[in-house]
Symmetry: D2
């Protein structure tokens, strides 16, 4: 269906580029919003929406706050309208009464966002708008309900069914690649040469989720190494000088970095879908791949270990402590203390192995004394692991990790 | 950005094809729905959703009705929850209270639809589901509120900003073209040869709106003839043997047919955006084009003329009556009686000319005695025409048409 | 590398379309040719070439003959120049002397063709020019050397390394598909519905070779059915109502029709490359495919059987005679009498089975009394079969076919 | 026709990747060549060719020389065969005799190259092979005739009609872009950031010629700046901090760098076609562009000025000397001494203006004391300028440049 793709791209291309607001509308922002909300059809709506987005783009922080306040308070629900429409619907259920109730329950700011989104390219601008809002919310918790609406809309727009998985490689546009450099959050990419080492070799892969209306922005991406056996050191994995193998000769796919790219999409999770899809695609392309595993940081380990004299620990001790931490350290709600553990276990992975001296970078030493962990994605067990984790909060682990953990004398 | 397009297509391609539910889940449909609604993350959600969609696909009409009843009544709002959450939010506005209110107001069937939509390819199936629902609603008006929810979701998903305009031509995939044949609603296409005559010549164009998640289904399309001067006969426009001109030599673009394709998207309007976009794109590509005009049917004319001895009318009389009808025949709400007139005038077009004997097909004679009308899209006037029409219900028309209309003695 | 593809297409697109010779050059055709041959650089060359091609396009048959005569006789080698340059090169081998020799040996018509080919889209026009020439050669055998030059050039331009294999399916452009209908040479396609039956089902495939400079013209294509077991009737294979299977469930790929498309490329063989490539691609895509086989006509059978009372033959007799014919009927040079047999055996296939009543169409009955044959492509044996066939003219066949053949009493 | 592009790319992609010679053939290289030349059809030919190319790829310099000697001497023409076939053809012209003559005149090394080229991806390897040969030819002039054959073949394969013009921009694959960095020959690109500055801004363009069989290798590319007015300094043009303009606001397109990329294609000229095509495409896309001009180095100026005390010259003197040099300094054959001048004048450009202090880089000072020149491409005059230059060796120049030149007292 390459036909579709092309045409999509052609059109997007044209649309993104030629967008310039022709005239400046002198009405106040709130008047423009009201006009947009009341516009019939789209004849003038798109022009209004573009004007508003352009205006937002050049607002100061103070003006943005005022705009959010306007959305929060002027485009708020009317409790009386909710009550009366609910009453009417309850008494006489029907199309009209239900439509009135639904309209009354939804604050007009949601419709405003939808109408702003009529402009080609607007989706990315709205995501950036929410990023601004999230940044302000610490100081302005009264704006939080507005974020509930953004998140609700984005959950609908960025539904899994609308996302597209794409390989990212050395043939990808520079425009995408420079964003990969910028967004890599786990093991920083320090140059285009470093990037090439992660993308070009036959035993390296990268995949990202994209949304058709934000085609030049990855939403999340994962970096994969194809290896023989399960690796125990991220520095060796990323070494300048290492022996490349043919993809066909690998038996293991290692997910060594997952990065979310869009702060404005916080709370809308893509990671589990991404890993599942990549596992599925890779196993079709390379049937020799038998093991799908991460090489993950343990970001909470040292914090959990607290004031211990960490540097004095031997590798074996580190390993045992890490195993123990991953299996036993829990939050009050019974979930693991470690956020990366929560993510992978929640996806149905299990704790497969821990390795001392696996990340000897400054960051790796600081967060976990250099220890890392492999979470294993076993397609046959993912569902049941997931169910047990979500239901009974069971942390599934290999016997080896369990034994390591058991070797630790409980600290308190 | 052709890169994006390709990858989109590659992936869509793969995804659409390989989809087979691996296992049949034996739970009842409502149990499956409850499981889907309660599933955490997407680990098992996509599998559940696929199972449900597959099951729906093989349901009998009776079973579908039962499924809609389940959605309508079992996944309905809880008025008490709305009341209490509204009270809590009013008393203590905040993230938690607002989120609870928003959740209470939205029936769970909306979340069900969003979760079904996680499956690649599901969007088209959900559109088809609404088509089924619309077909049942005459006999089951109690299901109408369910349709309000579908329409609400689809308005968000099929937002103008997510749609893609694509040329449809003789290089388009047969898979798309056979749908053009099937969906053409104004002047039927009776064979692939007929289709070729409408798509291949240098003075013919066709454009459609598509949604990336339903890439093989046009949502709406418009057929365009590039001509010298404004045509006054659709039969001459579509004649087998006619003299083709070079696109560069045309001064006029004639929109002679607009067809909506998806019954399941009823009420979600794309037509005005489509025409505006096509006018904009064509005028960039072919700067010699000065006039953008329709050659439109007048579907309500003969019905409005009622029992008159229509066949006896002369061409000039037909023309005058048509002008009068378009300018003066109104519904109780003051809007034009003619649906096509409402559409184009609502878009900001004006009534430019009427032509007798312009559609001498059986259908053309039956609906308007063969008379047709040109609506003119003048980019400089569209906005103000639209405003006047929407505001004061003013029907803008050329002097010639006004004169024609004025020549008719009012009928009652 | 979809990037490349797109850009290729974009550019080709633009180039093909906008080509109009701006001015008519009034010089004689031979003067134009001389001017083109003497033009330095390409500044005016492309314009001259386009003028010549346009002029050729509107020539009468008589004028074309005159043009070919001009190419044959006026742009012929000069024997004296060959002799003297050969002498000079032999005496003092070097860059200059060799270049002079090479120039003297090559008639200027080859350079003319290369310069004509500078015009985008010219390659297809030159192929059509050779088609014209081939049509004239029966009456004008003196023009045959000119064809030797065309064939020489085309062998270089249509080198296997420049060809591209493409799937042709229901998503292919109508522009390509109508050519498939037109070019199918074995089992005629009688409508778009018939075409859809051959392209759309999951158990049907079609592949063609294309040249990037003639992107809208297939050079050769093969139609493939994916089946369980080896089929013995082409009518059942092509039946309107048949049970479709999933591609993944097939164990056999049947090449049931191969059609050359370009008369102007006669003698430049693509067929063997095509089959090898398709076998290779299909076995990667569908690892369950174990058998690659044709269902082929036996076009020479009835001619070879001569005046026999063919209609009286029983199926078993037909079968035995066909086996005998395929294995024993030889041309004076020792090669099989049957052209289709020569093609597949030359590719390294073997005679696997013969089936009576396998093509009961008028054409099938006329040429072989309805009998057809499966040639088997066994990737492990292709090379050695080919060597034996080319070397010792050995016809490899299954034991069953050999036994059938042996059962026939030699006819003379 | 994006369809074509995609499929091309898909297939190329697949083919390039999966190519591994399965078995090593132990025959000598010359035996392999003989086997390839005698192979019938392509059944084993492609395998042989791939083996040979792989083997060549791992040859030492000495082995490569031996291979070229083999091609030069063992696959040489046979003078007796040329003589006898010429005689036969002269006596009895016909298909057979002409074919024999053509075969005798062409050394078998040409057929060897064509057969090697059957392998997907081979074209680039053969271009690299010629690069090796050119490198050796200084020491081994006896191999020069072999290069005549390579050049002859490549002229046919890289015919203008087979080349594709592509924009190169910030959305292009990194794989292409790193080659742009490597191949830039005029004003070095020193980092990815520098590259971004040349490709991403709306007033910068880059275009290259590509061949479909070497899709990831540009053959030649040109960098273009869109400006208001004609620039007189390349440093200002390439400055980090400069004011970007909208492409639509530019009136001038400046070709400020043209780089050939493939040493193995030496002597096969693309430059004039490239500029003509880019001028044509840009003027369609941006109708406001009125002036197409280069900002070119004058590489031979200082060499021609010889031992003069160049650093003491004032800007005005430099300018006058440069004008004089460009108009008057000639080679013995009457052509301009300056190679860049020969190129642009040969394309039909004229000398429009000279600017002192226009390239104050080390290289610019060394070759021309910093002076640069604008060659103007005036579409209305290109053909006649070209004719006059090629015919009468007239150097067309603006009055201003002529006046400057005239102001110089002839040096000898």
């Amino acid at each position: 269906m390459s036909y579709f793709g092309d045409l999509i791209s052609t059109v997007f291309d044209r649309r993104y580029r030629k967008v310039r607001s022709d005239e400046v509308d002198k009405r106040t922002t709130s008047d423009l919003c009201e006009a947009l909300l009341s516009s019939h059809g789209e004849v003038s709506g798109v022009t209004l929406a573009r004007n508003l987005l352009d205006r937002y783009g050049s607002m100061s922080s103070v003006e943005k706050t005022a705009f959010f306040e306007f959305m929060m308070h002027e485009l708020e629900i009317d409790p009386d309208a909710v009550l009366s429409s609910l009453k009417a619907y309850s008494e006489k259920p029907g199309k009209g009464s239900y439509r009135a109730f639904a309209a009354a329950c939804e604050p007009r700011r949601q419709e405003l966002a939808r109408r702003l989104n009529q402009v080609p390219g607007a989706t990315g601008q709205l995501v950036a708008m929410r990023k601004d809002l999230l940044g302000m919310m610490r100081e302005r918790p009264d704006l939080e309900p507005l974020d509930v609406d953004f998140k609700h809309l984005f959950s609908s727009w960025f539904n899994r069914g609308f996302l597209v998985l794409r390989p990212i490689n050395w043939e990808s546009p520079a425009e995408i690649l420079e964003k990969i450099i910028a967004y890599e959050a786990v093991h920083a990419i320090d140059s285009w040469d470093d990037l090439r080492r992660r993308l070009k070799p036959s035993d390296r892969r990268c995949f990202g989720f994209f949304h058709p209306a934000m085609a030049d922005e990855p939403l999340i991406f994962v970096e994969v190494a194809l290896t023989k056996g399960i690796p125990n050191s991220v520095q060796r994995l990323l070494a300048d000088e290492r022996e490349e193998i043919e993809a066909e000769d690998a038996d293991t796919a290692v997910f060594y970095s997952i990065s979310n790219c869009q702060a404005g999409l916080a709370g809308i999770s893509f990671g589990n879908s991404l890993i599942k899809q990549v596992v599925s695609d890779l196993s079709k392309e390379l049937p020799e791949l038998k093991t799908f595993v991460t090489l993950s940081p343990i970001p909470g380990l040292n914090r959990w270990l607290g004031g211990s004299d960490l540097e004095a620990l031997k590798s074996a001790e580190n390993q045992a402590l890490a195993a123990h931490y991953l299996l036993e350290a829990k939050r009050p709600d019974g979930m693991p203390f470690d956020p990366v553990a929560r993510f992978h276990l929640g996806n149905g992975a299990l704790v497969h192995a821990v390795h001392a001296d696996a990340d000897v970078s400054e960051n790796g030493l600081r967060q976990s004394n250099g220890t890392m962990v492999n979470y294993l994605y076993d397609l046959n067990q993912i569902s049941q692991n997931h169910e047990h984790f979500v239901g009974e909060k069971t942390v599934v682990a290999s016997d080896a990790v369990k034994a390591l953990s058991a070797s630790v004398t409980p600290r308190d």
